[in-house]
């Protein structure tokens, strides 16, 4: 069986950045396996600008951003197998994959980096009443159709859900001549970034209706219209608030879930909230030598963060295969306290942690004039004031190692919103 130092599953920005960093950190044979017809992952369909300002100090489109990393990988001579689907990874790190050229094949990996990204929540999970006519798409599917296949899904559009992809598709469809009538969001706040509300909705006069949902879908063959209604605090439609919209297309932008079938079946421990693996400070899962990064770990809204995180996973995988990553000694758990939904990483081996370890998290609602705190066994070690924090925007703190070391017998680190 052919053996590689590191096998990377997924050739999106996470997989590419991990490969580049691993190679630079001295790993030998690296292989990236990608099931799509090209490398770059979801960035290929994100043709808008606004990527990479932090990584390249330059504003790029999705394909340009992916192109930069692909060029680096090529320059380092890292082989990428496209049109290749990974079917199974054993807990012994034997990877089973399939493509047209080789059929089914197995390779042995010294370390594995999981970088499979995420996929959109299916409509089935949405519980919208009514018929299932044609004309209902997830926003990501519509994005792929318009931007990669050159096909317009419809002319009169309603969008349910205010995730970034939905906002970006509102502008995209408008530019292509469609009439986007409204974006409805069930929650009292927008799921996407404020900059996308400004440049995708406000620029084109598209209304955003918060606390609204679709209560009825009309049309048998093709969608003919939808009914929106206001919802109360518990999310139930309020009778008498219904409004009809004629439309031939409904886009659903209701969130993403990490794609972790492979991780689960190989025995990787999962986090209930992120739906991604539980990792430690080295982005290593409970299986030594198996790392995770990017959207498969937790949903990121900023590709720059994906690349940074993936580079750390790549470096650690390289250290692992070179025998430079000390064995994990008992870990301290990082706990989501008041107002915080989850933290990544979920546990930290202090002896292995960096000087300043990025810990990323999301809050459970909007907080104004918020005080973010980090406490080691109750003792305040870090705080940060923020004018506003929102669930739609990932937060980051840099955890200082010396503060963790100072607390002898440290058991837990709690991140919380203490005021706001």
């Amino acid at each position: 069986m052919r053996a590689y130092d590191i096998v990377i599953v997924g050739g999106g920005p996470a997989g590419l950045a991990a490969a580049v960093a691993a190679k630079k950190a001295g790993a030998g044979d690296i292989l990236i396996l990608e099931r799509d017809r090209e490398m770059g992952g979801i960035l290929n369909q994100c043709i808008h600008n606004g990527f990479g300002l932090h990584t390249f100090q330059e504003e790029l489109t999705g394909p340009e951003y992916a192109g930069r990393f692909l060029a680096m990988a090529r320059q380092l001579g890292i082989p990428c197998e496209i049109d290749t689907m990974v079917l199974e990874i054993g807990s012994d790190k034997v990877v089973t994959a399939m493509n047209h050229k080789k059929g089914m094949f197995r390779i042995r990996a010294g370390a594995v980096i999981l970088a499979m990204g995420c996929r959109e929540r299916a409509r089935g999970a949405l519980q919208i009443p009514g018929y299932r006519p044609a004309g209902i798409f997830s926003a990501g599917t519509a994005q792929r159709l318009v931007n990669m296949e050159g096909y317009m899904p419809g002319r009169e559009v309603v969008i349910l859900g205010s995730g970034d992809i939905g906002l970006i598709m509102a502008r995209r469809m408008t530019l292509e001549g469609a009439k986007v009538k409204v974006v409805a969001e069930r929650l009292p706040y927008c799921g996407g970034l404020q900059r996308n509300v400004v440049q995708c909705l406000e620029d084109y006069g598209i209304p955003l209706k918060l606390c609204h949902t679709v209560v009825d879908i009309r049309g048998r063959e093709r969608l003919e219209g939808v009914t929106l209604a206001r919802v109360d605090e518990s999310g139930r439609p309020i009778p008498g608030t219904e409004e009809d919209y004629a439309c031939d297309t409904l886009l659903l932008s209701v969130g993403l879930i990490p794609e972790n079938e492979l991780s689960r079946s190989m025995g990787v421990e999962m986090d209930r909230i992120t739906a991604g693996p539980v990792v430690n400070e080295s982005l290593e899962t409970n299986i030594p030598g198996v790392f995770a990064c990017g959207n498969v770990l937790h949903v990121h809204d900023l590709v720059d963060y994906v690349s940074e995180e993936a580079a750390r996973a790549g470096e650690n995988a390289a250290r692992f295969v070179r025998g430079l990553l000390p064995e994990c000694e008992g870990a301290v758990s990082v706990v989501a306290g008041r107002g915080v939904r989850y933290c990544v990483p979920g546990r930290i081996d202090i002896t292995r942690m960096a000087e300043r370890l990025p810990v990323r998290f999301r809050v459970d609602r909007i907080y104004k004039e918020a005080l973010l705190t980090v406490r080691c066994d109750g003792k305040l070690v870090l705080h940060k004031r923020k004018k506003m924090i929102k669930p739609g925007e990932m937060e980051e703190i840099l955890l200082p190692r010396e503060k963790c070391l100072a607390q002898s017998g440290l058991r837990s680190i709690v991140i919380a919103v203490e005021e706001g």
Binding site: I47, N49, H54, E59, L60, P63, G67, L175, E176, R195
Partner: protein, 125 residues
């Protein structure tokens, strides 16, 4: 004095910027984190501009379309004129990122460039 509250679209941080105006000119800008945000605010209240991104049909390519953008930002009111021109374009494969597909869009002097590589379609079909 008139105050305008803006969300910077320069990057996903989305800083809240305030521009103080007097008789159509900007007198003070506050709340930005970097120069880019300052520039954005100054433009946004006088002559708002945007980068336009879209796709152009490709003939003989491995993919049916190639993604494109305006090389620089163009005045907001030119967006639809620019889109009309973009939709009339056809590129011939192969296309490289940075290839100029249109020299001057909508009289702005700004070019439309490809943002992705599209190879020639293999002959077999």
């Amino acid at each position: 004095m008139e105050k305008r509250e803006l969300t910077c679209i320069g990057c996903p941080l989305g800083c809240l910027i305030t521009a103080a105006m007097e008789g159509g000119t900007v007198v003070e800008i506050t709340g930005y984190t970097c120069q880019r945000g300052r520039d954005y605010a100054a433009k946004e209240v006088t002559n708002p501009t945007r980068i336009v991104t879209s796709t152009v049909r490709v003939e003989g390519g491995a993919c049916p379309v190639v993604s494109v953008r305006t090389k620089a930002d163009i005045p907001k009111e030119k967006i639809f004129a620019c889109m009309k021109e973009i939709n009339a374009l056809v590129a011939a494969a192969p296309v490289k990122p940075g290839d100029i597909l249109l020299e001057d869009t909508a009289g702005t002097g700004v070019a439309v460039i490809a943002t992705k590589a599209v190879a020639k379609r293999p002959h077999s079909e």
